[in-house]
Amino acid sequence: MRYLPLSDADRSEMLQIIGAGSIDELFKDVPEEARLTGPIHGLPMHASELAVERHMSALSRKNMVAGDVPFFLGCGAYRHHVPASVDHIIQRGEFLTSYTPYQPEIAQGTLQMMFEFQTQVARLLGCEVANASMYDGSTAMWEAIVMAHRITRRGKTIVSSGVHPHYVGVATTMAKFTEDDLRTALPGLTAEPDTERLLGAIDGETSAVVVQYPDILGRITDLTPIAEAAHAAGALLIAVVTEPVALGLIKSPGEMGADIVVGEGQSIGVGLQFGGPYVGLFACREKHVRQMPGRLAGETVDAEGKRGFVLTLSTREQHIRREKATSNICTSSVLCALAWTAHMTLLGEKGLRQLAALNHARAREAADRLAAIPGVRLVNDSFFNEFTLELPVEARPAVHAMVEKGVLGGVSLGRLYPGEDKLKNGLVIAVTETVTDEDIAALEAALKEVVR
């Protein structure tokens, strides 16, 4: 077996040194009746690298590849071009096959990278500090809600109707167990987000208001009045960003007064990968850092006075605090964070702004052409690279019909909000720099046919 270096001769020699007559003697603590006597039933026997690759390649070909067709899906995962050098860096064995940097003397590579990532994330989101990443955007949002609960000692959270329904689903699941009081609502196919609803709902028992920016329908709204109203009531504003490329063009939530900003970092450096692994972004005000979940790299010096980095403030974490920890989280998404930080370092501010401008320009072009199709209405009057169309027909069958024409033409709101009649004609279209003129023309033609 190619991954196992011991030979049979090694095994016998080692057993002899150990003083065991057979390998079974080493398993003697396992009750006899529980021990398996032969190879486990149901699995194949070992296979060559060639055979395994053949099998997995065949499975991979059963999927429609986003890059092979006109592709317009978003809603929390975005297809951007990732430079080849980014993937090269994350495949360096010293990053790929290293462990959590608990031994800082031999982990400065990961620790310095984390420190750079934290700084980039904090600056992009407009916050003072960021952690070294969470599992993904949806779990980061829930962690933000419970962090706000710890800070305000209040249990009511008002969630904007523009927050991704899967994110709301995660929070709703968790709130059932923690008995947090979540106030959620369904979005409407309107240009206006639900800012008025949020402002009306904030009261003295409110822990936090959660707003997605841009929201699930692609709408962009000024968070400043929401932040002011929340703060006036002693509550916090949590902003959720699922498309961080947008922040190359529009103001950060932190600049508008958000106290905790979380997000899905996938769109920078990390591929679509059918939903994971992704990289959760988490940033907040410095005064709240001791209530923050997750790992943090911090600067210090070594015994010779040289600058170095270590994992710090670990008294918040489970391996020290056990049941009193701020979260049970024991891992972050470091390799994805490395991809994020390497891509962001390639882009720089200049490249990020160009990338964002290109996305917005492409999306405007597409919106213009699609909204001109008879019967199709553009819901948004604001958007970055994603917008919602109201079709004259149900969008979900329309999406399937477009697949027949070889076009992956957006995410239907019927998929995200099944059974909601008022939303069933909604279609969310994301347009990134990867979309060509031909792709837009193909979508336009396909959509024209399916709405006829």
Partner: protein, 556 residues
Amino acid sequence: MTVNPSGWRPSTPANEQGEQQTVTGNRALMLEEPLIFEMDGDDATGVDFDQILPGTGRGTSEAGGAGPLRQPSAATSPSRGGFLAGLERTAAIGLPGLSEPEMVRHYTRLSRQNYAIDLGLFPLGSCTMKHNPRLNEKVARLPGFADVHPLQPQETVQGALEVINQLAFWLLDLTGMHGVAMSPKAGAHGELCGLLCIRAALEARGDKRAVVLVPESAHGTNPATAAFAGYRVENIPANAAGRVDLEALKARLGPDVAAVMITNPNTCGLFEPDMKAISDAVHAAGAFVYCDGANFNAIVGKVRPGDLGIDAMHINLHKTFSTPHGGGGPGSGPVVLSEALSPYGPLPFAAKYPDGGFRIVEEETAGDEHPGAFGRMVAFHGQMGMFTRALTYILSHGADGLAQVAEDAVLNANYVLRSLSDVLDAPFADAGPCMHEAIFSDKGFADGVSTIDLAKALIDEGFHPMTMYFPLVVHGAMLIEPTETESKASLDQFTMAIRAIAERARAGDQSLKAAPVHAPRRRLDETLAARKPVLSFKTPAPDGAENGAMTEVGGR
């Protein structure tokens, strides 16, 4: 080069040994590297974009503006503030950029300051740092897996759903369990999933229970997870043989206990021989057994947790099934469930239908197909990129290879145990063989020398330290897990190094306190880091101004 306000300059380290200094601070292949914020990248970028041509929607990208566009038609006319709602970013963000050669060099130089499995033995107990096969990486990058969107119509992702379904069924075969939740993002997330299943099952029978019992030797995530899931945590003691004290456990069981969280093999590297009796007692008291599957590598293909009465167990794909640790994630933590808990597993999941097709069961169809689901734990379908790697690993090994994995892992650990038990105290060695990891204590070290000193000296010998001071039940614990992917020669070199250091520790060699001396950094001041946290780079104040970087962090 600008320097960080901490005052450190790469060219001026004081060196006790009076070694010849270099003007760069570099020492041959040991290369110092500044932060990206200290490099001159304010207006640089390493990405070229296509020229955007006027009139086609590909307007010019000059100055980061949106570029000239066709006049919007009436259908797309914004009502206020333009399409960006008047929220255009104006202030600088502060993100430096590097050209591709500079970026590649920066991270390559950083990478060389890391220890890694690719460089040598990584004996972290309970972490299972085994070789990461490169075929896994190649497969995960096939466009059919890497370039597929989680919300694509299901008819376009049949291969992805088949991967999830196939892996799910093989995990069931390997564990002898009834159901599996694939979506948890990591081990601790899997623990949470398991406990939420237990809570949902209890609530479904109208049984409110408040307590979760956790052995003293458990991973910190166990009590943290139980608390996060809304339970009160109580410890159960270990007996002198390093196992759960069955009588003490039985005495504590009662109508308030929801679950017992056990690690098996446990964190002392020992199999719990009373596991079935523990399960029976827990079930008789109306509670459930959660098993922390962190140490599954010891028994994969040899024993099925389902045969031991376990109700829920997470499987760290990044441990047993070789997906890369990546410097601390991403992980993946599917949870296998007993028949009693399966009805409550989370959404979404991939199911195979009689027509041979695969479908995602999520909120829409859950009412008909999985009405007891406790809800959704993540936005999409879990760590697909890890599923492809784990499935590749399982296919490579097969049923025969996986049993060999467990056997070699246990053989290697016992070889280490035997090779060191005359120079290190092995508290449970008299009781018999260990499983996949060997535990030692600091008994016999001279005064003033501690476990950490031995561990740091191991760094100088070219090894990653073992897990230290865990589990808490062994004084100055050293937990060594070599894994099955180490050769005998590699183990011999490792034990030779550790024997030499152990002799120094017993003799009271105070020079151990200075270790490591050959690593990129000496011991780091963790107290300073925590007392005055510097968590992001702050642009240095102009010369002569007060150091502005160190700020006290409030909110204690």
